[in-house]
Amino acid sequence: MRLLRFIARRLVKGVFVLLAIVVLNFGLIRAAPGDPAQVMAGEAGAADEMFIQQLRERFGLDKPLYEQLAIYVGGILTLDLGYSYRQQMPVSQLIFDRLPATLLLTGTAFFISLLLGVLLGALAAARAGSWTDSAITIFALIFYATPLFWVALMAILLFSVTLGWLPAFGIETVGAGESGLAGVLDLLEHLVLPATTLGLFFMAVYARMTRASMLEVAQLDYVKTARAKGLPPGRVTRAHVLRNALLPVLTLAGIQAGQIVGGAVLTETVFAWPGIGRLMFDALLQRDYNLLLGIFFVSSAMVILFNLITDLLYRVVDPRIEVG
């Protein structure tokens, strides 16, 4: 009952936060120079004032700002994300079309990074000071510090250009028309490089955080007690150290999970992955206001949702934490 009340309260709060975000985003986008009418006219290679004015009227940009905001918020309240004039499609459909590709990419990267990151971090902590620890730490540091797009390009250079093992771009072999198992394998083959590249950064972060957090927890009195009781070292590490050390990792995972829907702009760009990140980037460059706001709306809703889930998970990992 208490839990339900907590969830309900958080959801109501979430709605207000979301509305605030919508208003803020709306203002921020309009503050940037240029508007979609000008961009579209720009691509036409010719325009006169009449042409641009026609476009503005079509987009509703000729109305006062507060009226545009009111129309937009009104739409949001009825879950209507508006229409992208640039793409000639409803925003919700555009987002929905790109969602599967993005979920596949970011979801895979999320699990790769969480699983490998925690595993490597735990291994490094368990063997603190050893060669294994140093190797893992260096490995993690490198991927933590290297820009994602550079890693992506190097991966393409090595695995696609030089070795020719993996495809360099896209989500499928276009025109091959493969279905069934062959289609799935083709998809997986295309997924390997982008998902790994995207996962590496977070993997490094999880590894470093797990290691640091475990070493800290290992110094605590209850761990000493467990050891003094004569529990086997493996069990101490797993049940006493790791579980308690996971709280900060969980927080971070919550943040990363919230970004899953937002896509990964750089990775999707370099690997020509048809996901939401690229949709967002293009929308930004084209000042496609409705589409951009729609993507922001969906991804901030996800962040709020995953924050809530993270808070609930805290309780599972550490029963001492109470909600509410």
Binding site: D35, Q87, S160, R287
Partner: protein, 519 residues
């Protein structure tokens, strides 16, 4: 008595056919993979005139004419045409066995509807040219007649596919063109039909089996791949995933590496109709650049050969003035501006330039342009200018130009084969208006130039036009309203298996009609 062009056309076609026979007999079949960058906003060519849309949809839609690399008109939907002696009546005979991709017959009514109704409403650039047209009539189902109010020199130059695509009357008449659902499944008369668009991934076109030219097109399918990152596009070519990199799809510094690959061909051709010219807008209204001497100093300060040789890897040509050398009525009989720092300094001193900062706006189109802006800034500093770089993204750049909020700004514009179509717009004082970056953005105003451009558009015959445009070029080069940088050439890089792709003045944009694969 009508001056007929039928003979010339037949002759040209004969020579072309003979040339092809001497070369190789085209093979039918195969799939070609091409890069498209950026992803077009739509494929309805009558509504959207941006570059990527033209490149894909130029193979779906057609106009009455095509142009060879000398910009001479060639048959397309029109198989022949005649021009009256006074240059005011143009009559086009259409191919009689043309069908729309949905099977409906194509006729002269489609042409009248497209030009008079549809495009007049949707295409701002064509609208300006159509002001010279008094009426457009379908004489019978295969004949269209355009009657002009007075002679208009460049008239035969406005029938290019991207400028005047013929759209299906049976689909668009009486509808709201912009929201017609058919826009998502374009129906044209061209050699390729639209099949599928996987947004963010690829566009798929298939051969039009009912195309009116016997045996054409040769290729079965075209995949246009959307690859947003320039380095990834280069890799896609390197790994053989794409066969054609249309001009501008990779960064210039990658061009020598890619063209060094085995079985790789490269050509600068296929941009003659657009003849893009890069220049620096100079704000003539206020600040130091309002003085002619300062603008001339800019021209002397620029090392334009360096820009061509180093930044653009030797592609292109240093322009002599406001018109590219591919344009009709071009002349090089104008004042010259070699790279001369001392002269620039002297001119600045004469003009009393006091070191007022000058804001330079680079063109946010990628690495090549960024490097060019840096080199240009260095040139100007060496000559004594005080230059501040102001970086923006594309919408910001649009806005600043449209609001005249700049001192110097990079740009490049298409010239569309004729000074009346693509040059006059940047210098006419009647074209000074905020809100557009394709008019007289620099604020230059010279009554003599206005008069010449006005006369040049309607003078008849061509010898008269040459006289006028020679004078206009000389005057503009003296006044330096903008600083001309480079006649741009965007090399098309392709696998040598792809034959006869670039055969017209718009290259890849309508090239797949004649292209074939030697595999």
């Amino acid at each position: 008595m009508q001056r007929t062009m039928l003979f010339a056309t037949t002759l040209a076609a004969g020579v072309l056919a003979a040339g092809l026979a001497l070369a190789q007999t085209p093979k039918s079949g195969g799939t070609v993979n091409v890069v498209i960058q950026p992803e077009p906003p739509g494929l309805m060519l009558g509504l959207i005139q941006n570059g990527p849309t033209q490149m894909v949809a130029g193979n779906i839609y057609e106009s009455l004419l095509r142009y060879d690399e000398k910009l001479q008109p060639q048959p397309s939907l029109a198989e022949s045409w005649t021009v009256s002696d006074d240059g005011t009546v143009y009559t086009f005979k259409l191919h009689d066995n043309v069908k729309w991709h949905d099977g409906e017959p194509f006729s002269a009514d489609d042409v009248v509807f497209s030009v008079d109704k549809f495009l007049r409403q949707t295409n701002a650039r064509l609208r300006v040219s159509l002001e010279h047209v008094a009426k457009i009539e379908a004489l019978d189902k295969d004949t269209v007649r355009f009657t002009l109010k007075q002679p208009f020199g460049p008239f035969l130059g406005i029938f290019e596919g991207g400028t005047m695509p013929i759209v299906p009357k049976h689909i668009y008449e009486g509808t709201d063109y912009k929201t017609n659902p058919a826009n998502n499944t374009p129906i044209g008369t061209g050699p390729f039909k639209f099949d599928k668009w996987e947004k963010g991934s690829y566009i798929h076109l298939v051969k039009n089996q009912d195309y009116y030219l016997e045996g054409k097109p040769y290729i079965d399918e075209i995949y246009w791949h959307v690859i947003p990152d320039a380095a990834s596009r280069a890799v896609a070519f390197e790994t053989g995933k794409v066969d054609v990199l249309p001009g501008g799809s990779v960064e210039n510094f990658d061009v020598p590496r890619l063209t060094g690959l085995p079985n790789t061909c490269v050509t600068e051709k296929g941009w003659e109709y657009f003849s893009p010219l890069a220049w620096l807008w100079l704000n003539n209204r206020e600040g130091p650049l309002a003085k002619k001497e300062v603008r001339q100093a800019v021209m002397y300060a620029l090392d334009r050969d360096f820009g061509k040789e180093v930044i653009w890897n030797g592609f292109g040509a240093v322009p002599t003035g406001p018109m590219t050398s591919a344009l009709r009525f071009y002349t090089d009989d104008v004042k010259k501006y070699p790279h001369d720092v001392d002269k620039a300094k002297a001119l600045l001193k004469e003009a009393g330039y006091d070191g007022t900062p000058i804001r330079l706006l680079p063109l946010p189109y990628g690495e090549t342009w960024r490097r060019w802006a840096e080199a240009t800034r260095q040139n100007l500093i060496d000559a004594g200018f005080n230059v501040e770089m102001q970086a923006t993204d594309v919408p910001g750049w649009n806005q600043k130009l449209a609001d005249w909020d700049y001192d110097m700004a990079f740009t490049y514009l298409y010239q569309y084969g004729d000074p009346a179509l693509g040059v006059a717009r940047s210098y006419l004082s009647t074209n000074i208006a905020k809100g557009s970056q394709w008019n007289n953005v620099e604020g230059y105003s010279n009554p003599r130039v206005d008069e010449l451009f006005e006369k040049g558009a309607t003078a008849f015959p061509d010898s008269k036009r040459q006289e006028i445009y020679t004078e206009v070029q000389q005057q503009l080069v003296e006044d330096v309203p903008v600083a001309w940088l480079l006649e741009l050439k965007f090399p098309t890089i392709m696998s040598c298996d792809v034959k006869d792709l670039i055969t017209t003045a718009i290259g890849v944009n309508d090239g797949f009609r004649d292209a074939w694969l030697d595999r």
